[in-house]
Symmetry: C2
Subunit: 422 residues, 2 copies
């Protein structure tokens, strides 16, 4: 008998019929002899409806009250799922974050989980019940309701799995796994049967939207085996088949028998680039530029400083495109004059394309194949950033799809090289 | 500085604009120097929407999960009201039932309040905040969410007022007070400025829908002054005017300087009558009939047993019309054969009309004026029930409006006789 955590997103919980389908799937796992904990999101559209009401009432709603409001969505969907399971003859009980409790810090709207008490859940599991725990929310030390931010239900599910030392955490979603790249851009994209935790972390941070990055970090910290799989299949597909479907995020590298050099291509259009031209190449210049940016709570991604020419240098960095205008203002009115930049070049028509692969550690020439491929397509590389298992480039965003397709082909990602493919 | 509790119903909280109006009204009381606690219902339609989803999922939803589901409506409206107050510059904070906590027994969907901890509310009031407490809900000893049943927010408000020893509990609703009878039936019906607690209790139990009867009981037990008033007036009406409007439910009889003999006419069409004809007049016959009815959880209202004729008697009682079919089945298949009734007469076309007045205690001839009035209108009385301050009759329901109008006129309720009228 295994302990299995299921997580279902808002689309999977989006109507009475879909909730009944979720209940059928959960009931099937329960009938197969597993102890099942389910973490559902709010019904699709519900969180937006609630936050829309808040926005009508206040331009800057109090974060504490926002959490009080938004947390009701998951509470309702959890109770509905319990009823659906009971209607199918399965004993079930739902708990809110504070009932478990899921303890968090008090950073309303983006709280972090500190601990989860497993006593109540375990007692119900041992009594033969399916336990439903509201995703997305917790309670702080003073008994105020907190939420974990958008996509937080993934993190809730992984955290519950960690607390229970669950055998696997199944993230049911509207895609059937993690792909070598986005199939909407590259039709030849291939679902991976297995991906290493490090690769998944890079994919998530580089723009793949399958899993929220904090949930992957959590999985890494507590070594929770996570499987991403589809909730759109027949809910009564046999458990043995379903438990081998989707993509498993693993911590054991030897599960990937013949590791591909590059596992996937990630990309993101949410990028904007700034260059301060002709700033004095003196110690502390990077801090003079990025200090005010950090103080304004703007996250900087890539940073590049060219070699000094005649005592001045060009300094470039990228930020999320949402922060384009704020960053531009800051550089023009505050940073630029201070550091005496000759010119400030702002560009919100760039994108980031990355190759990710744990095999890059031991294979040379991977980055150079990337650069050659882009060059053969006539794509100019504006910035480069590397880590042990990924190489990212900033290019003009009109070339994004072209670059992704060319790289997918060059690294032969359309061909299955892993014998461990499920 | 007084402590004042406001309660707003679902209609008053029914849209963003209405919530803003509630916030304006509350802000006005706060600005006038009062410590204000607000108990809101869920936005109109929300509870029905949630229970509708439950009904689609299960014919007999688990009461615990129903409470988990339904309690989200008040949690959301409370958070929205806090935001609306903050947007108007008023410091405010909302609490769920479990956060206060409002402790109840564990009778899901119809729980009873056991105690309310006032520490958290009081600390916030002393810090200058408006405190919002979700209506309708509480938490049991094991940390499960409970609800108080339909209209439970009235009870929540009165209970919070009792815990805080509030100076007054204002129930804002879509009528502007308690009337001598329903103005839709009798256009001459008059709003009472003051009504005694006992009269209000009879009016509520006899079919007046202004206040939930349990909230009146609670007010009586803890002697909470309750005022029923309209939320449809201009929210910025001066506090001095508003605090003297509506109907005050009082415990001090001398507030009603010249007590009217009869204060109001209540009526209800939710009635059904059964008569078992020709049952043996032996000891224990009432129990043989009503025991099985009580065991089936059917509430019996009026009971009447005629004098014995030749060893047999006719036994009549009334139940809520919703229970008509269940009761009929029970009598036909179980009770009737057991007690050897010659015939069972079922009638779901009856109604109850009652006159209520604390003055009846000391005035004779009140009931006889009632009977004469009905007789003059040619209305046959089928059953009579009396208490110290009310007389009720069961009549054919086609005469209901006629009876109410005739009694309203006969007892001169259209004329103001109370000098304490506000």
């Amino acid at each position: 008998m295994s302990v299995i955590v299921h997580k279902y997103g808002g689309t999977s919980m989006g109507s009475v019929e879909r909730i009944q389908n979720v209940a059928r799937r959960v009931a099937k796992w329960h009938a197969a002899g597993h102890q099942v904990v389910v973490v559902p999101s709010a019904m699709a559209g519900e969180t937006n409806r609630l936050l829309g009401l808040a926005k009508e009432l206040s331009t800057q709603p109090d974060p504490r009250e926002l959490d009080m409001l938004a947390s009701t969505g998951e509470q309702a969907s959890s109770a509905l799922l319990a009823m659906a399971l009971q209607a199918q003859g399965v004993s079930a009980r739902s708990y809110t974050g504070w009932q478990v409790p899921v303890r968090t810090d008090n950073s309303y709207t983006k709280a972090r989980i500190r601990s989860i008490d497993d006593a109540r859940i375990r007692a119900d599991l041992d009594a033969g019940r399916v336990v439903i725990v509201t995703g997305f929310q917790g309670v702080d030390d003073e008994g105020h309701i907190t939420t974990l931010g958008r996509g937080g239900s993934d993190t809730s599910a992984v955290a519950v799995a960690a607390a229970l030392k669950a055998d696997e955490c199944l993230i049911f979603t509207d895609v059937d796994g993690v792909y070598t790249t986005d199939p909407r851009v590259v039709p030849e994209a291939r679902r991976m049967g297995v991906i290493s935790f490090e690769e998944m972390l890079e994919m998530a941070s580089l723009g793949s939207k399958v899993l929220q990055i904090r949930s992957v970090e959590f999985a890494g910290k507590y070594r929770v085996p996570v499987r991403v799989l589809s909730s759109l299949t027949d809910p009564l597909i046999p458990v043995e088949v379903e438990s081998a479907s989707g993509t498993l995020i693993t911590f054991e590298e030897d599960q990937k028998m013949e590791t591909a050099v590059v596992s996937g291509i990630a990309f993101s259009r949410d990028e904007a680039k700034f260059t301060l031209v002709g700033v004095p190449d003196t110690p502390g210049i990077a801090y003079s530029i990025l200090g005010p940016v950090a103080a304004a709570n703007i996250d900087v991604d890539m940073i590049l400083q060219n070699q000094s020419v005649q005592g001045t240098t060009d300094f470039s960095f990228t930020v999320n495109r949402n922060e384009f205008l704020r960053t531009q203002d800051l550089l023009k009115n505050q940073v630029g004059p201070t550091v005496k930049a000759r010119e400030i070049v702002a560009d919100d028509k760039v994108c980031k394309v990355s190759i990710v692969g744990i095999g890059m550690r031991s294979h040379v020439g991977v980055a150079s194949l990337m650069f050659r491929t882009l060059s053969e397509e006539g794509i100019n590389i504006q910035m480069i950033s590397t880590s042990e298992i990924k190489t990212s480039v900033i290019i003009n965003d009109k070339y994004m799809e072209l670059a992704v397709r060319a790289l997918h082909k060059a690294f032969e990602l359309d061909q299955d090289k892993s014998t461990a493919e499920a």
